[in-house]
Symmetry: D2
Subunit: 210 residues, 4 copies
């Protein structure tokens, strides 16, 4: 029952599709979800007919969220400039400490087996770390995830002709990881700014930053 913000960067459509799947699963679990895109800043319009950003993420969405899911394609092996521009624009909010102890997980897509998917989720986690978030990686301790794609730092997907693989393990892996992410987010809410920390140790964790 937490507030989860999904921010995606989608130049050719796959990450927009991924974000929709994430939204559906989180809502079925009972979370409040906002799905937001980021402005696509490279390539002329004619070169990116499938670029999708829907409603753009803004500072209010970031403040509202108790947990973040960020997704990006691997572009030149790194996260997209479009998503990074969104992060850079919101730097002041991040360093003000308002994201402290929010839950964070990153996901990525790539055009071939190793197009930088591990590196992109690692970059996303670095953003979460800088923001003061608590990072929730999928882990290799879940056999179902290993046989899916296995990326221990964040879920990732090898695209099939530019689209998410049309296979049942995609939804299964998302459901398994997001269920855990949702549980961790709920557990962290009392430690967030404005949270009601029920125990002394939680209270002191908050106090340290307020």
């Amino acid at each position: 029952m937490s507030n989860i913000l999904v921010v995606y960067s989608s130049l050719f459509g796959a990450n927009a599709e991924l974000a929709e799947k994430i939204q559906q699963i989180l809502q079925e679990q009972g979370d409040q979800v906002r799905v937001r895109g980021v402005k696509q800043i490279v390539l002329a319009e004619a070169q990116k007919p499938d670029a999708r950003q829907g409603r753009e993420a803004n500072a209010d969405d970031l403040a509202w969220a108790q947990g973040f899911v960020l997704t990006s394609p691997a572009h030149t092996g790194l996260l997209s400039a479009a998503l990074k521009a969104f992060v850079d624009e919101n730097h002041d909010a991040a360093v003000s400490g308002q994201f402290l102890n929010k839950a964070f997980t990153g996901m990525s897509t790539g055009a071939f087996t190793h197009a930088g998917q591990e590196r992109v989720v690692d970059e996303l986690n670095a953003i979460g770390a800088a923001w003061g978030c608590i990072i929730v990686p999928p882990s290799t301790a879940l056999p179902e995830l290993n046989t899916a794609d296995g990326n221990p730092y964040g879920l990732s997907f090898v695209l099939d002709k530019g689209k998410l693989p049309d296979q049942p393990w995609v939804e299964q892996a998302l459901a398994l990881h997001l269920r855990r992410f949702s549980g961790v987010t709920a557990a962290l809410v009392p430690l967030q700014i404005g949270g009601s920390a029920p125990t002394e140790s939680r209270a002191s964790a908050i106090t340290a930053f307020s």
Copy 2:
């Protein structure tokens, strides 16, 4: 009031000293703490008169812990072989899922300003991710940490002639970060194997893995 295991690798003494400081701070906060070393596997004995491992970490320590603090010097810019050997030895326990949702934070030391301290904590976090832990980085959102050393992925320390800097900010940074780490660990305990998950969403997070 959680069980925290501190595992350090110390070839020349600095990380053993760091582990002692961590222990003292965590105990003052009310946590149960075990401090354990790892077997030093490189160099002949005569070349490492300051190597310290104290009591060696074992599988029981890993099972007992609800939160992990791992510290390593940067050796050739990466974590020490000694600490990695400990991780490799305990691979089976990790993939069995018994570390799921335990809290994790990494720390590192280096002989000069950039000897790999960022990379070492990033490797440590990767171990935490593979183990199924929840990662607690120090963040750049805490101004006190920025003016200390600033490493957003894990606390790190530039050594002064092989020793931790003899400056008040070292204890201050440790106290600030460990207070937060302790709070997050306590919040995650109900989600760990054997934890008592009081809400449905937490319960389902557990169920997913048991």
Copy 3:
């Protein structure tokens, strides 16, 4: 006597200053140098009075160069969105193979000791790798560099109130590393597209990609 392109991203002036120093040193060594900025895409104009991009890097500059020096500040611990946008815009040229065997080195700046400087040069090197370049890191094998800043993956600088440190080691470290970079670039030119490979093994290396 090689063609070196320096591309910098500078929101507050430090990397523009760094690029000028690089240019001066390379020219004194006899290299042909182009120094180019990238469009600053975040923050309103009033918030970045010191943003400097000079002449913007373009596809012709990339084709002309036999060696690349890329510099970026650490923004949220990662390379700037502005520099990444430049990379994303030129993706097609990169994957066409025209940058194969060009020399590459990355540099970074940060506002405090560990603001992501190691990570940023690592990201830059990843761009070089994706482009098919040969990476020239500064190494820890040069004691002069260790006592300067020591970053083994790319030169980096902790800023002093937003500016490069006003200390002799800055130019010394740049001169030492760029002298080596220049030598490696010259050695690689025969292996680049259009190069005159004087030996069979070099010729075959070219053939493999043309």
Copy 4:
């Protein structure tokens, strides 16, 4: 016609097989090749009947080589402790500068699609950087490599029941990358300690470090 040292870590046999393939290809290209293993330090003997180290790499091998190929499985998402122990043991030789300007490329294997293969080659490259080597990544600019496995930072292989995939692209990718690696190594030899630098710019690059 260069001296190439292949160092592998093989607990279950796949990297030993990889090293043999590398040796065969390099020898067919005319290079002098030494293939060496590292001592396997984890697990009891009975648990690793397929551990293979053959002749162990030593300091003389490192000195002899003009180019290095290092291969490691992904263990807990990072390079094996066994290979890291070899690196740590030879730290003094590395920082003495004797590896300056030698060519370096890393390779990795993993049990599933993303078991840390990207991260392991990145760690290997970091070792090469610290040693003062010049890094030769495979690049994404070679379409044949992208359709193989695609890892732009170092060749990597998803194992099939513990073995290298029995498919023609494995040898093809190795041949393509090693042909380029061999050409780059030959071009760098004059810049190495003891090399005959034929041009002034190369000579000065050597001078800087001798």
